[in-house]
Symmetry: C2
Amino acid sequence: MLIVQKFGGTSVANTDRIKNVARRVAKCRAEGHKLVVVVSAMSGVTDGLIKLAKEITPLPSEREMDMLLATGEQQTIALAAIALQTAGVPAVSLTGAQAGIVTDGVHTKAKIQNITPRQVHHLLDDGQVVIVAGFQGQTEEGQITTLGRGGSDLTAIALAAALNADLCQIYTDVDGVYTADPRIVPSAQKLAEISYDEMLELAGTGAKVMQLRSVEFAKKFKVVFEVRSSLNDNPGTLVKEETHSMESVVIRGVALDKNQAKITLVHVPHKPGVAARIFKAIGDAAINVDMIVQTAAVGAAEGTDISFTIDKPDLAKAQKLLESIQTDIGFKQAVAAENICKLSIVGVGMRSHSGVAAKMFESLANAGVNIDMISTSEIKISVVIDLAKGDTAMKAVHTAFLG
Amino acid sequence: MLIVQKFGGTSVANTDRIKNVARRVAKCRAEGHKLVVVVSAMSGVTDGLIKLAKEITPLPSEREMDMLLATGEQQTIALAAIALQTAGVPAVSLTGAQAGIVTDGVHTKAKIQNITPRQVHHLLDDGQVVIVAGFQGQTEEGQITTLGRGGSDLTAIALAAALNADLCQIYTDVDGVYTADPRIVPSAQKLAEISYDEMLELAGTGAKVMQLRSVEFAKKFKVVFEVRSSLNDNPGTLVKEETHSMESVVIRGVALDKNQAKITLVHVPHKPGVAARIFKAIGDAAINVDMIVQTAAVGAAEGTDISFTIDKPDLAKAQKLLESIQTDIGFKQAVAAENICKLSIVGVGMRSHSGVAAKMFESLANAGVNIDMISTSEIKISVVIDLAKGDTAMKAVHTAFLG
């Protein structure tokens, strides 16, 4: 089999851990597999480099930050190759550029445009383990770029797609994807498999095992990948296309996001284009909006109410922004709430099972939890509730659906 | 003017010093010059990376060491570009590879094969200050290489040659080249200019301002360069082709090398090929031999004596080696002396002035210094003397020739 393995920053945090990774890779190779290993920067290295740049200016050039930060992964690939060679395994390191990863020119958050893994193929054929720097690539013109948050996962999945690998393994510090956070719900179970869409919805609801973009990429190119722990040999969770058997499970998991804040705009004029203007202003300020709920306007004179959730750290910024556009837009008031959280259930099975929402709301009611906002998608139901009731609510819903 | 400036590791040791370099570069640019700036790794960074590799294995692969160490300079160029931009100067960083520096494939001590500075020209024309990573290049095949000791000086001088620069400035922590070490000879003076050959001989005699190879490269491609301090605005020493006026100065400088040891082989058989076998064995062991003196054989029966000097740290290794070949070669004994030093006078003028050696020996005699070995070249006279007499001897010779 051709396997792409990815190890994150904590898995390569020091030379002892790098040697550990080398042992794991050597063992897998001894089983007869061809291996491409993607590594992140040693944890702390990237932050240290950012700190140096900020000592010079709070707003360093993005092109130069890419030049600077790309060195972190380059150090890890060299050390990992040295560790593998020391373990008796032939290994060669490649920067993102050398591995043929071509991106657009949007520095610090470049998108992969194509991969020409000629060099990787050549080295694999030569019996080498190929160690590739995650998180980076270069433009057609030879500029060094980085892929932004979660970039190393993306490198691994994109390489797996380009190499037509049999499997892609994302090694991390969790065992896999769980039906709920085991620290809150002790009866939570590890999932053997999950569909891309479910993984996407879970990633978007606070169960942050992986960044959305890597899962989206995997879905687009049908890359089967496994999320598993670099600390033990337990099987992880396989993320793949939806299968028929997946639908027999009504919901896959429950996720709780305590990092949300809610804003309600009271008496928004009920005219075409108003919502667009509000959310364009918020988007331009790089504030991420998650749920948006607008209640049907009953009395057009008073306008309607619009509620939405954003990341808690963005709240002050958002309030300031809304103040500045209040007169222009003409809403009466912006009411903010920090003490909320978002509880979601996710599952492709809910498409074919009626009454899922009712069952969720009922279990919440029985647990004495009041629902503040509701938002649904085809395979997800999210509710906004009181932050203090979050854990209780999660347990209640998990018990109702998953035991 | 197009000027190439090179700043070493201590000049960029932290962000404050990098900001200092940026101020200096900005000032020079404000005077209307086009600038290419070559920087080394921040001092300590390279050693830290070597330490990481050695934690894994004492003998890491040289290819991977190049991959690892090249990150040091890459970090500095990014930070230097950020500092320049922050100072309001348009600046772009380039790795060795991006600057078009092509080397052979001898990892950790690659030689520059050619430079295609298309990108550098393009950026200069665009009004940018171009910051280039010293010490590194890439092979035709895209492998990252490093140039070995003194590599950043070499990058600067090679770029100056390829760009046909008007001047190359090597910024370091000394003010320039002196007639003698000012810490030993208080009357020593900074030289306004010096010829390549004199600089080479001085570099080879303990006045280690720069590595030999960079001076050789400059000589070969006729690159005029200035050695000057990054800590003040004093003019430095211009290193250039020999001019007629240089010959009117009999000697340029006095150098003292306390890092030498002497070995005398007693009663070496006086047969063809013996010396070759001895020095081949020593060369194969990577021990650098400096002076070699063989006294004329008078009584062929007893053989001749051969004395030579090596770097002091290599003495034990050399003694062991000589022991192992003693029977085979057939010399009687190897006598080692650590308490010696080498005193040299250098100057293109001595070619046209007779009596220079006599004057040197006389000044040593007057100072009560006994001469142990003598070796001469066209523009240099070196003597081996007692280590304890080194400083006295240097002062005496400096006074005799340079006041």
